[in-house]
């Protein structure tokens, strides 16, 4: 059961020091209105999990530019000079995670797995501090689950039961992150009544969703 709240109420759920997941790929599939409200509020010392830090004017990148983050867990920070600058000055911690591993770690966090074994990164720098496990003669890294206090999700359609539908390339990390946070907040282009989304069409079941915000 999802509760429809205002954008202000939504960002009030995010407290200083929390870990957030922000869905999207170069801002496509990112709930920009929620990000803007979070920028306006100025919540600090956040850790953010996302594919990239996008641009200084898009997605998570706005939070970087506004110096609200102490750490980012990402696969890519190119195209956002604010991230590089704060990373080099030591103001921002950056944990690089291969994109496929990031997706699986988030999924594992949402789905109660203690981790996954991936061949990605074996023998590279990102193996540091990780357990290498051999299964049937091939080497894998044990990668641990990721969870967040709050996930910020962008849907195309939502119903009041919290069921979500995404559109085109805006799906990306949304279905994964929606399941992997204690509180899942969705900015939806359209909020429909219960029953207005065909149960076969749902991409994220309402069971994962806590709050809806009109996009």
């Amino acid at each position: 059961m999802a509760k429809v709240i205002s954008i202000e109420e939504a960002v009030d759920l995010i407290k200083d020091g929390m870990t957030i997941m922000v869905a999207g790929f170069w801002g496509v599939g990112t709930p920009e209105k929620l990000i803007d409200a979070l920028v306006a509020k100025g919540t600090k010392n956040l850790t953010s999990i996302s594919i990239s830090t996008a641009l200084t004017t898009k997605g998570v990148g706005k939070l970087v530019a506004n110096r609200q983050l102490k750490k980012v867990i990402v696969s890519y920070i190119g195209r956002n000079p604010a991230t590089s600058e704060q990373y080099e000055s030591g103001d921002l911690e950056v944990e690089f995670v291969p994109q496929g591993t990031l997706a699986e770690r988030i999924r594992a966090g949402g789905f109660g797995l203690g981790g996954i074994l991936t061949p990605t990164g074996v023998g590279t720098e990102i193996e540091q501090g990780k357990q290498r496990i051999t299964v049937d003669g091939r080497d894998y890294l044990l990668e641990k689950p990721l969870r967040a206090d709050v996930a910020l999700i962008k849907a195309y359609k939502a119903d009041k039961a919290g069921n979500l539908v995404y559109r085109k390339a805006a799906r990306n990390t949304n279905p994964l992150m929606a399941a992997a946070a204690d509180i899942t907040i969705v900015q939806a282009d359209e909020i429909l009544e219960i029953g207005e989304i065909d149960p076969d069409e749902v991409m994220t079941p309402g069971i994962f969703v806590d709050y809806l915000v009109q996009g």
Binding site: M1, A161, N163, A179, I194, P199, V202, I207
Partner: protein
């Protein structure tokens, strides 16, 4: 339907909060769905891949042959439900997205270990989704008769194969409601007309009695 089983089911049905998602196992747990208190919306999860299990179809022509529950019964889906694949369905279970699961039990011990999938000497049919439910749901409620032909089912230590380790939160029987706590089993409620001594006689496990012991009240 056994009156004891209905009593157990009615008591279990009081355990849910409005908006809870719940998975019911087979046997007594299935009955629980019939007794959800008015005003409490509980959404049932079907491990074969959807939420919001609805009632069975009213007539032959209302049957959709691609809409069964995990026990292979034709059912319906209520508005607000969604279909998903088996990996998502068990992601929901394992990931703690269910407020509770109600399972049957062969034995539960005082550490909260659960045995319910296999009885040595009897046919082994498999655990299905039971082991995932036992470790995954936020609360694991065991709905079972207190004894099996007089033999205690709430024991000091399970001596049949386990389903899950230290996973049980609450045991509801026709005699008692017991919580598994860090300090061991606590008798929280007893059935009307049942004495603590009778519960003790029917229980092998050690338990303490809640100072605020209540009488089970069902409609």
């Amino acid at each position: 339907m056994d009156a004891k089983d209905v009593f157990i089911a009615k008591r279990v049905a009081q355990e849910f909060k409005d908006g809870d998602f719940v998975n019911l196992g087979i046997g007594i747990p299935t009955l629980v769905g019939n007794y959800i208190p008015k005003g409490v919306r509980v959404f049932f999860h079907s491990e074969n891949g959807f939420t919001h299990i609805g009632p069975m179809p009213n007539s032959e022509e209302d049957i959709d042959r691609e809409l069964i529950n995990a026990s292979d019964q034709y059912v319906t889906i209520l508005p607000g439900g969604a279909f998903f694949d088996s990996a998502v369905s068990f992601g929901i279970i394992r990931g703690g997205h269910l407020a509770a699961t109600v399972l049957g039990g062969l034995q539960v011990d005082q550490e909260g270990n659960l045995a319910n999938w296999r009885m040595p000497g009897k046919k082994t049919v498999g655990m299905g989704g039971g082991m995932d439910l036992a470790v995954g749901a936020k609360r694991v409620i065991i709905a079972m008769e207190h004894t099996n032909k007089g033999e205690p089912k709430i024991v000091k230590k399970c001596n049949v194969p386990l389903t899950g380790l230290k996973c049980v939160d609450l045991i509801v029987t026709e005699m008692a409601v017991m919580a598994v706590t860090e300090k061991g089993l606590v008798l929280k409620e007893i059935a009307p007309g049942v004495t603590v001594d009778q519960v003790r006689a029917a229980t092998e496990a050690e338990f303490t009695v809640d100072p605020d012991l209540k009488i089970i009240s069902v409609e």
